[in-house]
């Protein structure tokens, strides 16, 4: 109890920049920045979403709770932020609808920053999603949540080391107690505005043939879709034979990325064949 009390006191003291946050709930007319909120299930993603927007999205301690995008907003230091809560997923590699919703928003929605919420007690598993998102977008802030729980289980996380390895800002948090919210807001603002230039870790493939194939495809992709920031990732998807990306190349929608635009809903295809 004392924890939440302290956090409440901090939020109103003038030094804290949480005092500069105004929760907008779902009332959002125009916005300056679009922020995506990604992460594994059970990491406190929805708690962070609710804390920032003042909304009361139902949270649950299991996967499959959020399968559609939820949106809300807040203002911070005079700018309007639109926050999009993506379905909690373990990876962006396979093809279930929830993973596709998350991936398509990060790819086609072109958020100004993506917050990846991770669980400090299960960092290894959570980092694979971080690495996959870093391959799509470089504007990432990693929130290491549940630091309190990690401490209780005798674990500590070196966030500076982590930040150096990943090449993006890393914020330690205990969202349920309101800890780390101020720092998260500030980091998101810096990454979204471009004040903080990230240097995302590039996944080595240690396979000369694949690297050569990527090098072969990348210039062609860049020529065809000049505004696309993640040509390496697209090249990999094409080499893998990803059907939805191939479709997006063929009909030109891959180049049709518009800031913060919603993605068409994905429907269940006829299962009988």
């Amino acid at each position: 109890m004392s924890n939440s009390h302290d956090a409440a006191a901090c939020a109103t003291c003038p030094v804290s920049n949480t005092a500069q946050v105004r929760k907008l709930g779902a009332q959002l007319g125009r916005w300056d920045y679009t922020i995506a909120l990604a992460g594994n299930p059970n990491t406190g993603k929805s708690t962070i979403f609710n804390t920032l927007t003042g909304l009361r999205q139902h949270t649950g301690n299991w996967s499959g709770k959020t399968v559609v995008r939820a949106e809300g907003g807040y203002t911070y230091q005079g700018s309007q932020y639109r926050l999009v809560d993506l379905p909690g997923t373990y990876s962006l590699l396979s093809t279930s609808v929830d993973e596709e919703v998350a991936r398509d928003f990060v790819l086609f929605g072109q958020p100004d920053a993506t917050i990846v919420v991770t669980d400090a007690t299960r960092l290894e598993r959570n980092l694979s999603l971080v690495l996959q998102i870093l391959a799509i977008t470089e504007r990432v802030v990693v929130a290491v949540n549940l630091m309190d729980e990690a401490k209780r289980h005798g674990m500590s996380v070196d966030v500076r080391r982590l930040s150096r390895d990943l090449g993006v800002p890393v914020v330690p948090m205990a969202a349920r107690q309101g800890e780390g919210v101020a720092e998260l807001l500030s980091m998101v603002a810096q990454v979204a505005s471009g004040a903080y230039q990230t240097k995302p870790y590039v996944l080595p493939l240690q396979d000369a043939a694949i690297e050569a194939a990527i090098a072969n495809l990348e210039p062609q992709i860049r020529a065809r879709f000049p505004q696309l920031p993640n040509t390496r990732w697209v090249a990999l998807r094409l080499l893998e034979g990803d059907a939805s990306i191939m479709r997006a190349v063929a009909d030109g929608t891959l180049g049709d990325v518009r800031k913060g635009l919603a993605v068409a809903p994905i429907l269940l295809q006829e299962a009988t064949s």
């Binding site: 279930s96 289980h153 982590l162 194939a213 094409l238 299962a271 009988t272």
Partner: protein, 472 residues
Amino acid sequence: MTPQPASDPLLQQAASLRSQIGDNIHDHISESVYATAAAISDRAVTRDGQVAAFRLDRAIDQVVTSRIWGFPMMALMLMGVFWLTIAGANVPSAMLGDLLLGNVYTWLHAVADALGAPWWLSGLLIDGMYMATAWVVSVMLPPMAIFFPLFTLLEDLGYLPRVAFNLDRLFQRAGAHGKQSLSMMMGWGCNAAGVISTRIIDSPRERLIAIITNNFSICNGRWPTLILMGTIFIGATAPAAVASLVAAASVVTVTVLGIFVTLIVSAWLSRSWLKGEASSFSLELPPYRPPQIWRVITTSVIDRTLLVLWRAVVMAAPAGLIIWLMSNVQVADLSMAAHLVAWLEPLGWLMGLNGVILLAYIVTIPANEIIIPTILMLTLNLANSNLAQSGVMLELSDDLVYATLTGMGGWTLLTAVNLMLYSLLHNPCSTTILTIWHETKSLKWTAVATFLPIALGFVVTVLVALVVRVLT
């Protein structure tokens, strides 16, 4: 006019490169991702060797997910939740009924009389719309206000994923996806939400199975029916001391029956129309977290209880209007409702139900929530009872509901049991049907999901009625 991928030069180039590299690129990328994640996490995380991590979590998990104790624990938890709901809701339900159906109702009629309103207007508004709404509120509000916080508490604690873990083995054997246990439990809240939550299932085949069978999860709108039937018909057959326990057990039985039907139908679908192998997946057991009691109460009361109640009230008012009209518009000396009920009666008898119940299920397609109030109003109106009109129906005590149903409706224990069964096995509400259409965009599967449960319900109730009638 989608361009042919084959004719796209970039895609052709990619395809030829792909054939050179071979198709292990996906594995290669996955491997690289996981190896890198492990290396980075090793550098950043330090563990204190003194503190054994997650020992308590694991100890609890060993009990609640054990092969021997898993299912008994699950049944016990459900029993506890229903028992608290049934035992706790009685008194406030009667008090609310007393206020809304007694005091407010007579006051409204007094006001209407004073204003000189014509009989049909006050009938439509007060005996129709108001009555249905008031019944919905007094029947549903107390049990929901107890049930939802308790259920949300289990969810918040992290117990539900353990239930999913226990059920996973059974779903795999049924040829369905293990994650279907999660969407099934979402269905225990609301089937429309359950159908949407099947999006976590990767394979379209397994997702369709999960969508079609989601209706066998008892939803918000159906819990009150089961709880009421369990209380006044089944619990009442037991000695008073254990009545609410027996009532709770009957509700748990129907719930577990729903799980069995889900498994059987899934197994049948995956061996006939939707043939295929079950795909494997990993299910994470999240750490137990102390629930945030206050937040659980506010979210479950505001987001679930009031939302469901609002939906019921919105549906109840027009339904009340229709019921009043049907009961008061005369066609050839009989009310329309009487004609319809008489027409449905043979079918109802065959199913161990009656014409009133079947008519009520047609009227309440938009919302299961109002089935009991609809049945009560129709029964009272058809019996030409002036209980309600003369203000005698002062309270909605369980005794009075029991007396109304057995006395005027001619209900027996069989009627109640078959109503509970039919409540489990009938068409999804219109919202869920629309959601299924939205998620599948297939008329065929929407129709299957709608009519399959009705067919099952028909077979099961007819069989039960037959057996009971032969034996007695």
